[in-house]
């Protein structure tokens, strides 16, 4: 076009970023990459290679190795060897390496950005201005944690070899989120990049060599799902960290069940984007653009469900459509392109299929008037209005540039719609009224809530999900716990045999037969089964009976817990503490009786356990109003509030021993932080728990927040672990039971915590962390 012609139309014209430097780098490797194992490039033992393509034009960029089982074996071994030294390397030295990685990536930022855009198809503007700067920041930030680990995480040690599997939507950023905290905490890594997007990870490997990172600390295995599966199943791996689909996350959960591997999962989402009538609507429109047309909508936390207050909906859609007309789809290397290429034809097909479904289910589709390029993998920004909450496009993750809009009338309804999903990754809330915005933010079940903003990320802020969006956090101090474990052995309580002269009741008259029931919804109820189980003492003497609870009792208990949860979590921490203290007080009143019961059932002296339990309840009460959040110093004018929220409805299967202390330490602490509980007491000494519900009844514990079911531990555990309305299960029991619980938990991806069948109980700080999940609320401000 001539200058004169352009002056007529004032079009933008092409503004391509040069691909040559990245293509040159690929050529310098002869467009063929081996596996990065033990600090060296190796040809795959599998002998197979596959192509990685540029989604914008379908052309091959390079051949990369397909790592097979043998290669995984080599890499895990290399990582294990390296761990011996790296795990003991002083924090300051690790900090220097991480700092060097940050510096190197910064110095080669444009090469990384261009390579990422070539391999992934996302716009250069995003790789250049968002992805790579966040990567650099992540390594800087965690260099700091390496430096501070000794003082700030004293008593914790690295896990060992960590297997990490990352997705294709933010290849290098997800690598950074995985590798930086792992290395900072002294772990070594075997990382598998996504098969669609291996290239920046390979460039990163080169950088690792350049900074002199000891061989084997970082190993990069390219490959497809089979490589990932081999890594997940490898017995030499201490932890798996995965980001990807909920479907694959579920497979990993099942595959690692009972292996003792730690697991963190960052999975899918269907995040709500809520616009209230008093929002800055023009800015909210820009928010929508950043929410759903960022990275072609291929973002796990994409704001893909637009919830608009009914009265302003039409006007808002008009603004949004006008804005959509201005979006530019095309060559991802063009600096003025907003939406690049969809990762692969298979993904494009999925998007088309779901859009078709949306139409069939009666939603109204709107797309801009212009057409997307015919060559390459492109899809236009798409708005669906008139979407029913039950529609497929309102429930299923599309992972494409498709927005489903629904309306609501009241804040209460907005929250209800927002939470009407299996996921819980993120949410965006738009209102100029801080009362409204924060009220809604605290009620949404999601790991991240952005107020009047969206898709803000920073290394200092933890990111991760509720519900089926996974568990564990990445970023912030909260993210470090995924890569460490406690060093100090848990301090056992001294045990003494009960004195041979067992305490005797004065028995002038025959004792009155007692019936221990279940405790559900604040009431003592008989078991559905109509059966009881006999409880014997260690000497074989019959001590009494407990109810044999079954599935239906669990169902009722979970229902009661769900019913009690919201009010309980919203009760002030002070109020919850008061109740915990009151529990301790009332327990203390009956200390002798509880000690007697413990001795009866276990043959162990019970007095000390009762005292320890009272102390544990005091400790729980003390923590209720002191386990507090932090304000993360993220680099925006905002407060990023990291708030520990209760996990929700918790199933607790107690260990065999410490029948009272386990109740106090595990259930008491979870209760103090606002969870609602279904507790299955020690199978050995269940009468302690059934005595305990009388203490609960006299201590103002609200109905439903503490439910007790006696019965077969593993049977009840399975029902709890499979239950879709249970948010977490803590299971103390045999190894097979642990495996069963972990496997069964995969249905709704509930959190699990497995503990040994007997032995010392975990420290309260671990219980506090397990009883909560961190929600980050970003609150920008500015007059």
């Amino acid at each position: 076009m001539t200058v004169a012609e352009i002056m007529q139309t004032l079009e933008y014209g092409p503004a391509p970023e040069a691909a040559e430097p990245a293509l040159d780098w690929l050529r310098s490797h002869r467009n063929r990459f081996g596996l990065f194992i033990g600090g060296r490039w190796r040809a795959p033992k599998s002998g197979t290679w596959f192509a990685t393509l540029n989604p914008a034009d379908g052309r091959e960029l390079a051949q990369v190795a397909q790592a097979g089982r043998e290669d995984v074996e080599l890499a895990v071994r290399a990582a294990r060897r390296a761990f011996a030294a790296w795990g003991k390397t002083p924090g300051h030295l690790r900090a220097r390496y991480l700092y060097a990685l940050a510096r190197q990536i910064q110095k080669h930022a444009r090469l990384f950005a261009v390579l990422e855009t070539l391999d992934n198809g996302k716009p250069i503007r995003e790789t250049r201005d968002i992805d790579i700067p966040l990567v650099v920041r992540h390594f800087y930030y965690h260099a700091g944690w390496a430096q501070l680990m000794d003082s700030e995480l004293s008593g914790y040690e690295p896990l060992g070899v960590v297997g990490q599997i990352i997705p294709w939507n933010f290849p290098l950023l997800m690598l950074a989120w995985k590798v930086a905290p792992a290395l900072a905490m002294g772990n070594t890594v075997v990382l598998k990049p996504a098969e669609f997007t291996p290239l920046t990870a390979l460039l990163f490997a080169e950088i690792c060599v350049r900074v002199g990172l000891p061989a084997g600390v970082v190993n990069i295995l390219t490959g497809d799902g089979r490589t990932g599966a081999a890594l997940v199943e490898h017995p030499g791996v201490d932890k798996i960290a995965f980001t990807g689909s909920t479907e694959v996350g579920r497979l990993i959960r099942r595959a690692t069940a009972g292996s003792g591997k730690r697991l963190s999962l960052e999975l899918g989402g269907k995040s709500p984007f809520i616009v209230f009538e008093d929002a800055d609507l023009d800015s909210a429109v820009e928010g929508v653009v950043d929410a759903i047309w960022f990275n072609q909508g291929q973002v796990c936390c994409a704001g893909s469900r637009l919830l608009v207050q009914e009265g302003i909906a039409d006007g808002f859609y008009q603004k949004l459509k006008a804005r959509m007309e201005k979006l530019r789809v095309g060559n991802p290397l063009d600096k003025a392109v907003d939406i690049g290429a969809i990762i692969a034809p298979v993904q494009l097909e999925k998007i088309k299929r779901l859009v078709q479904r949306g139409l069939e289910e009666g939603a109204e589709l709107w797309q801009p008037s212009w057409a997307v390029p015919k060559e390459g993998c492109f899809y236009p920004p798409t708005l669906f209005t008139n979407v029913a909450p039950s529609a497929t496009i309102a429930q299923e993750e599309i992972f494409g540039p498709v927005l489903a809009a629904l309306t609501f009338r009241t804040p209460e309804e907005a929250v209800r719609l927002a939470n009407n999903t299996r996921y819980g990754l993120a949410a965006s809330v738009w209102s100029e009224d801080i009362n409204l915005a924060l009220d809604v933010a605290t009620q949404i079940k999601a790991g991240t809530v952005w107020i009047n903003s969206t898709n803000l990320f920073d290394a200092a802020s933890g990111f991760g999900g509720y519900r089926e969006s996974g568990f564990g956090r990445e970023g912030g101090k909260e993210g470090l716990w995924e890569y460490v474990r406690r060093v100090r052995p848990r301090t056992p309580l001294a045990r003494k045999k009960a004195s041979p002269a067992r305490p005797q009741r004065p028995e002038a008259l025959p004792p009155i037969d007692r019936t221990a029931k279940l405790f559900i919804g604040g009431r003592q109820v008989r078991p559905d089964s109509g059966y009881s189980r006999l409880v014997y003492g260690p000497d074989g003497g019959l001590l009494g009976e407990v109810a044999l609870g079954n599935r239906k009792d669990i169902r009722n208990a979970v229902e009661a817990a769900r019913g009690g949860f919201e009010a309980w979590r919203r009760a002030s921490a002070h109020h919850r503490a008061q109740i915990l203290y009151f529990l301790a007080e009332n327990l203390s009143e009956r200390a002798a009786e509880f000690a007697y019961r413990i001795a009866q059932q276990t043959g162990q002296e019970g007095r000390e356990e009762v005292e320890a339990a009272i102390e544990a309840l005091f400790s729980a009460a003390a923590w209720a109003d002191k386990y507090e959040g932090v304000v993360h110093p993220t680099p925006y004018r905002n407060v990023t509030l990291a708030i520990p929220e209760p996990v929700g409805v918790l199933g607790i299967l107690c260990p065999d021993d410490w029948p009272l202390l386990a109740l106090a330490r595990l259930a008491g602490t979870a209760l103090a932080l606002g969870n609602a509980l279904v507790v299955v007491p020690s199978p050995q000494a269940p009468l302690t728990a059934t005595d305990f519900y009388q203490v609960l009844e006299t201590s103002d514990v609200p109905a439903g927040v503490f439910n007790l079911i006696t019965g077969e531990r593993d049977e009840l555990a399975q029902t709890l672990a499979e239950h879709d309305d249970v948010d977490a299960v803590w299971y103390a029991g045999p190894q097979e039971g642990q495996a069963m619980v972990e496997r069964s938990s995969a249905g709704n991806m509930k959190r699990t915590w497995t503990l040994p069948q007997t032995g010392p109980l975990p420290e309260v700080e671990e219980v506090l962390r397990q009883a909560t999940q961190v929600k980050n609320i970003w609150v920008p401000y500015g007059a």
């Binding site: 352009i6 007529q8 004032l10 800055d280 009047n452």
Partner: protein, 325 residues
């Protein structure tokens, strides 16, 4: 090929409307979100090569070439007008492939005393003379005198009048007073087009910028303009974005198109492009035309010439080669 956009246009002038406080009070401006948009927009859009040349030539057409100094003399004003007639050297236009282009700036902007000189120096061209008025820059002269000043400038031949508002009306939320003031300015302007300078740097908040924009348009502004160039903080992309959104809302409500003029601190070609991009993205190509968009600047033109030189010849230019205004 001779290319000019006709500056005469058949679209109706904004007649204003009765003060509607509902439109004012519904203002919602989230500063952080506005800043984010303003900060990312220049990174989302860019023009290169021929497109950049075309856009920069277009920027020249939207320029209100300005001199507002206490030491202005008829001589300096005549020099400026000569530059306004021929803002880009013919050889440069030829090198860019637009040799026939009859390129002039949007207007020449001066103080009242310089209006006759400018009118005379621009005789025979379409270039209007704009006069700053109404107690420019602080706006604290007696209201009666402001009206007389406007009338005098119009009588002297100014076709555009850039008036300043009383900032205190905004800062105290006295919207009826602001409305009345601007309404009377408009009447005094008669046929001359009125640009209402909000002095955004003195309004305290972006929400005030939005509200003042709405009131000025309701009172009949043809343009709303960011700044006098004399405030400590002048045109910013943030305040401009807020004003453009107000213009859009007013257009939706009334059907009238109000123009926009950023002024103060816009010195580089890159900045000029940023503002053009902002207008294109928020309002569309229509609003990029000189009848609806002007950039108030004095030093900008020389930097644009330097950039054009680079685009035409592929080497970087020196200021000494650009004829002074």
């Amino acid at each position: 090929m001779a290319l000019t956009f006709s500056q005469a246009h058949s679209l109706p002038r904004n007649p204003g409307m009765p003060l509607d406080l509902g439109m004012v009070e519904e203002a919602r401006v989230n500063r952080s979100a506005v800043e984010r948009r303003a900060a990312t927009l220049p990174a989302r859009r860019t023009v290169k090569k021929a497109w950049q040349a075309a856009w920069l030539l277009h920027a020249v057409k939207t320029l209100d070439l300005t001199t507002l100094s206490g030491d202005d003399t008829p001589g300096t004003v005549r020099r400026l007008c000569a530059k306004a007639r021929r803002p880009v050297q013919p050889d440069l236009l030829a090198a860019l492939g637009v040799e026939g282009l009859r390129l002039t700036v949007g207007a020449v902007c001066v103080y009242h005393e310089m209006v006759p000189t400018a009118v005379e120096a621009l005789a025979g061209t379409d270039i209007p003379v704009a006069a700053v008025s109404a107690g420019f820059p602080a706006g604290l002269n007696p209201h009666r005198l402001k009206l007389q000043e406007i009338e005098a400038s119009v009588a002297a031949g100014a076709r555009e009048i850039d008036v300043v508002i009383s900032r205190r009306h905004v800062l105290t939320g006295n919207w009826p007073a602001l409305y009345q003031e601007v309404r009377e300015f408009r009447e005094a302007c008669g046929e001359a087009h009125m640009k209402v300078i909000l002095a955004v740097g003195e309004l305290g908040t972006l929400k005030n910028v939005y509200k003042a924009s709405v009131v000025a348009m309701q009172a009949g502004a043809d343009f709303i303009k960011t700044s006098t160039g004399k405030e400590a903080l002048n045109a910013t992309l943030e305040s401009s974005l807020v004003m453009l959104r107000a213009i859009r809302a007013y257009h939706q409500a009334t059907g009238y198109q109000v123009g926009f003029k950023p002024a103060g601190g816009i010195r580089s070609a890159k900045q000029a492009l940023d503002w053009l991009i902002l207008v294109r993205e928020e309002l569309g190509v229509d609003w990029m035309q000189p009848r609806l968009f002007r950039i108030g600047a004095s030093a900008l033109l020389n930097d644009i010439e330097r950039q054009l030189t680079h685009l035409a010849y592929g080497r970087y230019a020196s200021m000494q080669y650009q004829p002074l205004g």
